[in-house]
């Protein structure tokens, strides 16, 4: 394993590790909001099915909830681009 790392120049190792870091940042940032948005929309669907008259209000609140949770995934996305190396 060490001889594999030794055969490359120093710049390649840094670039490879940066790429791995970027992937880990975004991958880790996408888990929570994925689950969160699924929960929000699922509960919104249940609410709309139980009481169709409130569908408009539920839909508005659902969009609000999606916006807040999706922002966290996007912080990770932007951070993955900002990481330099």
């Amino acid at each position: 394993m060490h001889h594999l790392l030794a055969t490359q120049d120093a710049g390649e190792l840094l670039k490879g590790l940066t790429a791995v870091g970027r992937g880990v940042v975004y991958g880790g940032a996408a888990i929570g909001p994925g689950i969160g948005i699924g929960l929000v929309v699922g509960n919104a669907i249940t609410a709309m099915a139980r009481q169709p008259e409130s569908a408009g209000m539920v839909r508005t609140t659902m969009f609000l909830g999606i916006a807040f949770t999706e922002a966290l995934a996007l912080f990770g996305f932007v951070l993955a681009f900002i990481i330099s190396g």
Binding site: G56, M57, T60, F63, L64, I66, A67, E70, A71, L74, F75, F77, V78, F81
Partner: protein
């Protein structure tokens, strides 16, 4: 360079930084494609609502009808849901935010333009700063500085000892994280959409130059993603406007 079947994927800087072509040496007043698109959006939105307001028919048709549909959408879908009937005075501002951001976003899928202005952080940052100044000023004007600070930073119904933890978090959230997240949300969504459209376009082109048939799937997906980006443009403008309404309404009338 990153090669995909002998076609270069351009570095990200080439996708979002456009060369200046007027006032090239000025640091603040140089004009590039993004600035031109901003001016075009201002002219389009202004001319649209100006032309729609000229006829004033009681039963609207044509341009006036579309403008009135937009106004009704902003009033019923955004203002009445979050600020209630006394927020109807905010209609011009919310309508401006929604229309302007929607037109700026939709430039991503218009041929020959194909660059969302909101994919550069300057404009979302300015809009979020504007919203931040507005909700703070209206909150202070409506409730007085001490009550505004108390209602934003210390929610009632929290056990007294927890205030030591909750107040700093709420302070940072209310005064720093909310406007920053407002800007970053629309910026990151549009930047991601721009990059994904470019990725599939480069892939389809590369596969087309090597094997003709391989470009069918990426091409079909590119078309589907363009439609999806239209939805995202509308949704991001709607979310920016409705969050502005929530923040302004919350600053003027704290519910709790």
């Amino acid at each position: 360079m990153h090669h995909v079947l002998a076609l270069d994927f351009p570095p990200v800087a080439h996708l979002i930084r456009w060369p200046n072509f007027l006032f090239k040496d000025s640091k603040y007043f140089a004009v590039n494609k993004v600035v031109l698109e901003m001016w075009l959006a201002v002219i389009l939105v202004g001319a649209f609502y100006f032309i729609a307001a000229r006829r004033r028919a009681l039963v609207p048709t044509g341009v006036q009808n579309v403008a009135e549909m937009a106004i009704e959408f902003v009033q019923n879908g955004i203002i009445l849901q979050t600020m209630g009937p006394e927020g109807l005075g905010w209609t011009p501002f919310m309508l401006m935010l929604f229309s302007f951001i929607f037109v700026l976003n939709v430039f991503e899928i218009i041929p020959f333009l194909q660059m969302p202005v909101t994919a550069r952080m300057a404009l979302p940052m300015f809009m979020a700063l504007l919203v931040w100044v507005l909700y703070n000023i209206f909150g202070i004007a409506k409730q007085g500085p001490w009550h505004y600070l108390k209602n934003s930073v210390a929610p009632p119904g929290v056990p007294k000892a927890m205030y030591l933890l909750v107040v700093p978090i709420e302070f940072v959230t209310h005064f720093f994280v909310k406007p920053f997240a407002l800007a970053l949300r629309v910026f990151a969504n549009l930047l991601a959409g721009h990059l994904i459209l470019i990725t599939f376009a480069v892939l389809a082109t590369a596969l087309f130059t090597s094997t003709k048939i391989g470009a069918v799937l990426p091409g079909a997906l590119l078309i589907a993603l363009t439609g999806f980006e239209l939805l995202v443009s509308f949704l991001q403008a709607y979310i920016f406007t409705i969050l502005t309404a929530v923040f302004v309404g919350g600053a003027m009338h704290p519910e709790h």
